[in-house]
Each structure stands twice: as C-alpha cells, then as structure tokens.
C-alpha cells in the first residue's frame, strides 16, 4: 500500500479501511472524537473559572488524527503501547483514559492519576497501554524505542506508537531514538504531526524539507504522508504501519498533515496565525465535520445515533466534572513518598517540624 500524500482539503479519499470498520466501530470513533472535543470545551470552561491550575493545551482540529491513529492499535493488557503528546488527548481517551482522570489531572486533584504531581495528560497506565510524556520534546522517542526493544527481545507481537510534533523533530533525542529503532528494526510506529506550528514557529523555520516524511529517508524507514484531518486515511495508514511493524519489518513513519486551530496554549492568542487560514481549516476542513458528513453520506450511521452519542458524552462529562470538581487537592505531606522504592519517602525537612 503506497498511500498518496493527500492535501488537506475537504475532499474525502476513498480508503479501503473505512469499509472494514463496523457500524459499532464507526460510532465508537465518533464517540471518541466527540468526547475529546466536549471534554476540552469543559476544560476551557474550568480554565476560565481558574479551576485548571496550569496551562491548558487544545487539540482542536487534531482530534481526528489522534483518535484514528490510536484506534488502529491493539488495545488492552499486554497489547500495544502508545505515548501521546499534549495534543493527543483523543489518543489517550481511545486507550482508555477516563474523562475524570483528565479533569483531575488538570485540576491537580489528590485523586488524579499522578496525585497532583504532574500536569495535564502527563500520566500513564501501562496496563491500558499508554505512557505519558515528559515536557522535554523528543525524549519519548528513545523511551518508546526501548519499549519496542522489549517487545522484540521477548518475541511479543506488540507495537509501540509514539507521536512527535513538527517542532519536536528538530530535537537530538528524536534523531537518536529513531535511528536506534531503525537500526534495530524495532516494532515502532512514529506519527509525525505536521500541524503547521511549533508554538509560534512555522515549519520553514523549523526544517528545510517540505514534508516530515522526508526526514524518514535519513533513517532508512518507510514513510507516508496522509491527510491528518481524514479519520479514515489516518486509520488506514496506521493500521498498515502497525501490521508491518508487528510482522517484524521495523519502524514506520506516518506524517499527518493537520492544523493547530488554537494557540500553543490557552493563553496564546495566536495573533501570528492568519485569520483566513484558520477560518478555512475550521470551516471546510474540520476532522469531525468531515468524518460525520462522510459516515452520514454513506449511510453508515444515522444522525439519531450521533445525537445520542453527543448526549451521552455531555452527560458523561458533566458527571465526571461534578464528581471531581470539588475534590480536595493532595495533602501537603503526600509530596514526600515514592522518590525511591527505598527509602520510601523523602525526609521531611527540619524546619517544618519546628
């Protein structure tokens, strides 16, 4: 399968994988898309109420590639492992992260997955199959290479999928990790998100190649560029790459062309982004719109079913919010344990006891 480099227009490529998806699956994908968007909208509301403690990062316009790529994985215990970035909320939800976990993380609640220690989507559940990133861009590539190495060493039919932004590909760790994985022919898929911005920096100040996929040529691994706002194209490309990796053929690079429709974080008014470009992407190239139109137009699902999901999601997000918004922050001294297994807690400093 040689997927063509599709341009991010409103046109729908007629992929084969779409047909392979059952109605339930199509609806499930819709569910995750909707959940991502609704949950983020809720986070914006909470952010404005200053209930979100730190920054808020949006994936608006990128939910399609996140959900579709994760949906192609084998999920569950001892299956594939995925490492998301800040804009891959959709991927995490697909992998089984719960809305309440996300809400608690952003609000630094005591019962959040990291017990208030780390922010936003920086958390893991290796049982469910996701490994949170650290802030330092690029670092997750070598780490995922190590995970994939463990699969290879143990002969497990598992694959590791890791995301990298157009900006993140400039880091040394991206290079070192991808090269190591390529040489070792590890079962790893890299999804490069060409969303046109790295904070305020456009691609032409980030690299001198046209496509991220060009970078794969330096590692001797295959690459494909797909329309990142076409759920089917991303799903199809990822499936292919995963199958290939699972068969021991090594690393595969998938470039998804998409657009970051919000600022780098909620505080960034993105004045550097041309208004008309933003409009174009939001009006005629929204991944959810395109997906919805397509499954409706092909009579694969009914409008009513989608409406039901929308309602279900709204209720779920409401309930999750209500359940945790007034939860306490972690107790101060809970900051001390688990730096090491042994000693079990950091020493409480002398002046605290005076």
């Amino acid at each position: 399968m040689a997927l063509p480099a599709t341009r991010p227009t409103g046109a729908f490529p007629s992929g084969a994988a779409g047909a392979a998806l059952s109605t339930d699956q199509l609806l499930e994908i819709y569910y995750y898309l909707r959940l991502t968007r609704t949950l983020e909208e809720r986070l914006v509301a909470l952010y404005r109420q200053t209930k979100v403690i730190g920054g808020l990062f949006r994936s608006l316009g990128q939910e399609g590639e996140s959900v579709a790529s994760a949906y192609a994985l084998e999920r569950g215990r001892n299956k594939d492992i995925l490492s998301p970035l800040i804009r891959n909320l959709g991927s995490m939800l697909v992998m089984g992260a719960q809305p309440i976990e996300i809400l608690r993380q952003y609000m630094a609640k005591a019962d959040s997955p990291t017990r208030g220690r780390e922010l936003n989507v920086h958390f893991n559940d290796l049982e469910k199959g996701y490994l949170g990133q650290i802030s330092h861009l690029g670092d997750m590539i070598p780490v995922m290479a190590g995970i994939a190495l463990s699969f290879k060493m143990r002969g497990q039919p598992r694959v590791g999928l890791v995301y990298i932004g157009d900006g993140g590909t400039s880091t040394g760790t991206f290079h070192e990790g991808l090269n190591l994985a390529a040489v070792q022919r590890l079962p790893m898929v890299v999804v490069g998100e060409y969303n046109h911005w790295a904070y305020s920096t456009p691609p032409e100040k980030q690299f001198a190649v046209k496509d991220l996929a060009d970078k794969a040529k330096g590692y001797g691994i295959p690459a494909v560029t797909v329309d990142g706002n076409d759920v089917f194209a991303v799903y199809e490309a990822t499936k292919f790459a995963l199958d290939r990796a699972r068969r021991g053929k090594g690393v595969h690079f998938i470039e998804v062309k998409t657009y970051r429709r919000k600022g780098h974080a909620e505080h960034d008014d993105q004045h550097y982004v041309p208004k008309d470009v933003l409009d174009l992407w939001s009006k005629s190239n929204d991944p959810m719109d395109r997906y919805t139109q397509r499954i409706l137009a092909a009579d694969l699902v009914e409008q009513k079913e989608l409406k039901e999901i929308d309602d279900r999601v709204r209720v779920a997000v409401d309930q999750a919010t209500d359940a945790c918004v007034n939860e306490p922050l972690p107790a101060a001294e809970s900051a001390l344990p688990d730096v090491y297994v042994d000693p079990p807690a950091a020493e409480k400093l002398w002046f605290k006891a005076l």
């Binding site: 403690i53 730190g54 630094a108 609640k109 005591a110 990291t114 208030g116 220690r117 780390e118 922010l119 920086h122 650290i134 802030s135 330092h136 861009l137 690029g138 900006g167 993140g168 400039s170 880091t171 040394g172 760790t173 790295a198 904070y199 305020s200 920096t201 100040k205 980030q206 690299f207 550097y272 922050l329 972690p330 107790a331 101060a332 001294e333 809970s334 900051a335 001390l336 730096v339 950091a346 020493e347 409480k348 400093l349 002398w350 002046f351 605290k352 005076l354």
Partner: protein
C-alpha cells in the same frame, strides 16, 4: 525615574546592549516575531531585524553550540532557553564545549545563555527547575542570578559585556511581581562576582538569591518585629564565582548563618557555601550553618504540594528563630 518590572528591566538591558553593540544578537525558540514565550524580546525583531533576533528550531544543543561558534568569531550571542529546564538538553555543549574553550584551547567565547527558572508558579516538574547546582561544578562558566529589578538590568548588561560565557538565570516568579524605580538614561551595570547586602542586621545572616531573597526579606522583617532579632540578608547575585569576601564578612559580623535556596537540598549550592564558610570562618560560628531549601523531590504541580515542597517565608522565620536562639 520610571517604575519598571523585573521583566521590563531585563528587556531594557538587552535592548540597550543590542543598540550599543552591533555584535550582540539573540537566538532561541520563538524569540523573534512572537517575542519570546514570556515576551522578554517583544519588539526586538521589528527593531533589530530578523538577522539579529533569530528564531531557531527546537534544538537547545544547537542553540548553545551555534552561539559558541559565533562568539569565537567575535559576536556576542544571547541564547534564550524557552524555559531554563531545557538547558539540560544542552548540558554537554555548555559544560564540555563552551565552558572549557578558553582553558583548553585559548578560545574566547563571550556569550550569554538565559532563561526563566524557578517555581512558585504551578509549572510542575519541568517548567520550574533551578539548574544552578548542575552548573556550579563547571569551571569556565559564570552564573548570575538577579533578584532585583535593578540587577535584572545590571546583570544582563554585564553578562553581555563579559568576555566569558555566562548563564543568566531569571526567576519567572519575579518577572511581573516586583517593581522598582529605575533612573532613565543612566548606565546600570551590576558587577559580576559581587554579592550585595540586601538588609543590614546584627544577630544572624541569611544568605540567599533569586525568589527566596524576597521571602527572606519578608522573614527578616517579621523577625525584627516579632522577636527583635536583627537579620542581615545577603543577596548573592553571582553564584559562580561566589563572592567569598561578602559571605565571610557577614558571617564574621553575625556569627550565625542560614542559607536559603529554592532548589532541592541535596547537592544544592548551599553545600558549597557551607563548606566555604566552614573553611574560612569556622572560629566565628556560634551555631551550625543551617539550610532552608526545597525538599528532595521533583517539584510537584498541585499548589498544596508545591507550597509544601518549596521553602516559604514561614519556614525561614521558624528556622531563623531556632538558629537565633541556638
């Protein structure tokens, strides 16, 4: 005179040096048209042109390395780390290449690496770091750490003019929180290597720098009022090389020392200061040199946790009270 913030003072210092010396240029991520994540270089690209305010790829090692190369050729680069936490990605370049260049190879490398550091702002473990201790161990590098508006300006200007590489640490909690009247038209240059007595006192010395200077001053005021304890506060300003004379002199004056830093305790800079005091003023000590620092954990995100982990004014008060009674 005009009242300016810490951030504005830093901005002014950079601006003046860019105007004064055409060899000075800036490079980093989003420093150009966007003006930097914290807007320190806002308006610079427009004024000085994109060739002197360079947006780079996300490549800290390349930023620091390229700055070094340009510095060898006589330019005066100022490299921004978007957050100082990312200097870890250039650790090799800065410690091995840059810092050793003069010694091993007679190469001049006049350059500044600067970036926002420090906590108290809910930034979590990777947007709140205090990297000074990791670079204290690097002969050939200088480290400056302004705590006041005046020094924000005076130290960036001196750093740019220094003929050796300087790591300039700017605490983001101070950026917009502190303000000061600065004279216009006057050249403000803070000498590198000189500490400053931020408050005179008789009974006990607090040695500190950065954000904890303000917490120490608060504590000192409280102690004066509530306990009648007169606390001297020394603002180090330069961490490498340390101003031994100023440190020893305050110890000899008060005979009791509390070292306060925001960084984690083990391996923090307080150890070095304690060792030096011990070596140079042991006989003058009327009590143990004590430390108020962060707990030895990565800095957590939740306010309750962060506030507990980082040293607070109250902690300093309690510790100083204890020591004053020793």
């Amino acid at each position: 005179m005009a009242e300016v913030t810490f951030l504005e003072a830093l901005r002014q210092g950079l601006w003046e040096e860019m105007e004064r010396d055409e060899r000075v240029f800036i490079l980093g991520e989003d420093v150009g048209l966007y003006g930097g994540a914290f807007k320190v270089t806002d308006g610079f690209a427009k004024k000085f042109g994109e060739s002197r305010v360079i947006d780079t790829p996300i490549s800290e090692a390349a930023i620091v390395g390229a700055a070094a190369g340009a510095a060898h050729m006589g330019l005066r680069p100022v490299a921004e780390m978007q957050f100082i936490d990312f200097i870890s990605c250039a650790y090799d370049m800065l410690t091995n290449y840059v810092a050793t260049a003069r010694y091993r190879a007679g190469l001049a490398t006049p350059m500044v690496v600067r970036g926002p550091c420090g906590g108290y702002v809910r930034g979590g473990p990777f947007h709140s770091q205090n990297p000074e201790a990791a670079f204290l161990h690097t002969p050939g590098l200088k480290i400056v750490y302004p705590a006041t508006v005046r020094d924000a300006k005076g130290l960036i200007k001196s750093s740019i003019r220094d003929d050796d590489p300087v790591l300039y640490l700017e605490h983001k909690w101070l950026y917009r929180r502190i303000k000061e009247q600065l004279p216009e038209g006057e050249e403000i240059l803070t000498p590198i290597g000189q500490a400053r007595i931020a408050r005179e006192g008789k009974h006990l010395s607090i040695i500190t720098y950065g954000a904890t200077l303000w917490k120490s001053l608060e504590a000192a005021a409280q102690l004066e009022q509530q306990d009648g304890v007169s606390v001297e506060v020394l603002d180090l300003r330069t961490l490498l090389p340390l101003d031994d004379a100023a440190i020893v002199s305050t110890v000899k004056k008060t005979n009791k020392v509390l070292i306060v830093h925001e960084d984690t305790r083990t391996g923090g800079i307080a150890g070095e200061i304690a060792a030096r005091i011990n070596e140079q003023a042991f006989e003058w000590l009327d009590g143990p040199i004590m430390r108020v620092t962060a707990h030895d954990v990565p800095l957590p995100y939740a306010p309750t946790l962060e506030d507990f982990v980082l040293p607070q004014t109250d902690d300093i008060v309690r510790a100083a009270r204890w020591l004053s009674k020793y």
